[in-house]
Amino acid sequence: MKLLLWLVVLLAPLPAECLPLLPRHLLLPRPLLLHLGEELSLRVGGGSPEGVGEKEKRSEEPPLSLDLTFHLLREVLQMARNERLNQQATSNRALMDSFGK
């Protein structure tokens, strides 16, 4: 039975992108996040954020948009992919621990 389980684990599908896993503390590079805070802006209501206390007309289409360059978008996407791969590895490890019980 254990041999069968090991075979299942070894033959289980892996993500196509088998990138090297990063340590958790490297998944959230602070300089990048700070840079994102400087670079991006969220436009609401036609270009400028509304003042505090102003209500949006909820019947109108909310013109929300995020001004983010493709370069930064790719960076955060890569971070998210690394996070997913790390989580999958953690989940597999926990499952294998359960099999051993």
């Binding site: 992108e17 991006l40 206390g53 949006e56 983010l68 493709f70 989940s91 359960s98």
Partner: protein
């Protein structure tokens, strides 16, 4: 029943089923739970610990199923999170533990797609819903505005919180989509097959990198690949054709604002490739709904040295294509 009427009856049933799109393409094997299915009931109950949880950031990109909690430490007036799944998945979003003051201008809005610099993916032309139906506003109706399901593998959430300690929890779950349409690729390399079985719609596969795209297989309804036309070039325009594939390049996410660099309107069994040196490269399948259309392609990231050279003295602001 004699053979002839039975034959006619069976042919009638087959033609009915083809009109309804019932074919082997509809087979949808339920997504296997993988290793999870090997657990016992007790172990599955304990699997609550397997749910991924972490704080949500004001600007975030989420690609993992799980629970994300945002608590404002100070007023946060401009926050958004991109959510992306695998190409053959759609995204289910659920809000809980919502502690915001809608009357004070707080909001949480979920969008069916991505919005970037005013451009939307999928475009208005390619999405089945009108634009206003793609937004789910929690404050408009907390009962129905707390859940949302995307039509493709990307979604987004915008939120604004004026008070410290206000916040919410967002649960993300990915669901299998048997016929993906309008896909944003997570990676700059890979391969994909897009199938549109008797569906009148246009589907785009978007790659937010400069890539070389290789079309390896193309099957269109009005296949006339056996008719040789030496004077007809591979990249001739397909305007007026019912079903075709087009390659787009541009520097935004809205496919309706991108430049068509090539199109194919007859089936292809060989290899066709193109380098698109744009921030966004798209394979778009235009389908009339009369046929079962299929396109397979591979793509890889272009290195800096491989980027096609831009034409000197070019007046149009168009990214390079080769």
């Amino acid at each position: 029943m004699s053979v002839a009427p039975r034959t006619h009856f069976l042919l009638f049933l087959i033609s009915l089923s083809s009109r309804m799109g019932l074919s082997r393409y509809i087979e949808d094997i339920e997504a296997a739970d993988g290793l999870y299915s090997l657990l016992s009931l007790d172990q599955k109950r304990d699997s609550e610990d397997f749910i991924f949880r972490r704080p949500l950031r004001c600007l975030d990109m989420l690609a993992t199923d799980g629970s994300y909690t945002f608590v404002a430490s100070r007023p946060q007036l401009a926050c958004a999170a991109f959510i992306i799944a695998e190409p053959s998945e759609v995204i289910s979003l659920e809000l809980s533990d919502v502690n915001i003051d809608c009357s004070a201008g707080d909001f949480i809005k979920m969008f069916d797609g991505w919005v970037l610099k005013g451009e939307k993916f999928p475009s208005k032309q390619d999405h089945e819903l009108p634009l206003h139906q793609r937004y789910t506003d929690y404050c408009s109706s907390p009962a129905t505005g707390a859940t949302s399901r995307s039509s493709q593998n990307v979604a987004m959430i915008f939120f604004r919180l004026h008070s410290a300690d206000s916040g919410f929890t967002l649960a993300i779950k990915k669901l299998h989509n048997p016929f993906p349409c309008n896909i944003m690729s997570q990676s700059p390399e890979g391969s994909f097959t897009m199938v549109l079985p008797h569906q009148r719609k246009n589907c785009s596969f978007s790659i937010i990198y400069p890539v070389e795209i290789r079309l390896t297989d193309l099957s269109l309804g009005h296949a006339k690949s056996n008719e040789l036309n030496p004077q007809r070039q591979l990249w001739s325009g397909c305007s007026g054709s019912g079903d075709y594939v087009e390659l787009l390049g541009g520097n935004g996410v809205d496919t309706s604002m991108m430049f068509p660099v090539a199109d194919l309107c007859f089936s292809l069994s060989g290899l066709a490739q193109m380098k698109i040196g744009c921030d966004n490269s798209v394979v778009r399948l235009v389908s009339s709904g009369n046929y079962i259309n299929r396109v397979s392609f591979q793509y890889r990231l272009l290195e800096q040295s491989e980027l096609p050279k831009t034409q000197e003295n070019a007046l149009d602001n168009f990214c390079s294509v080769e």
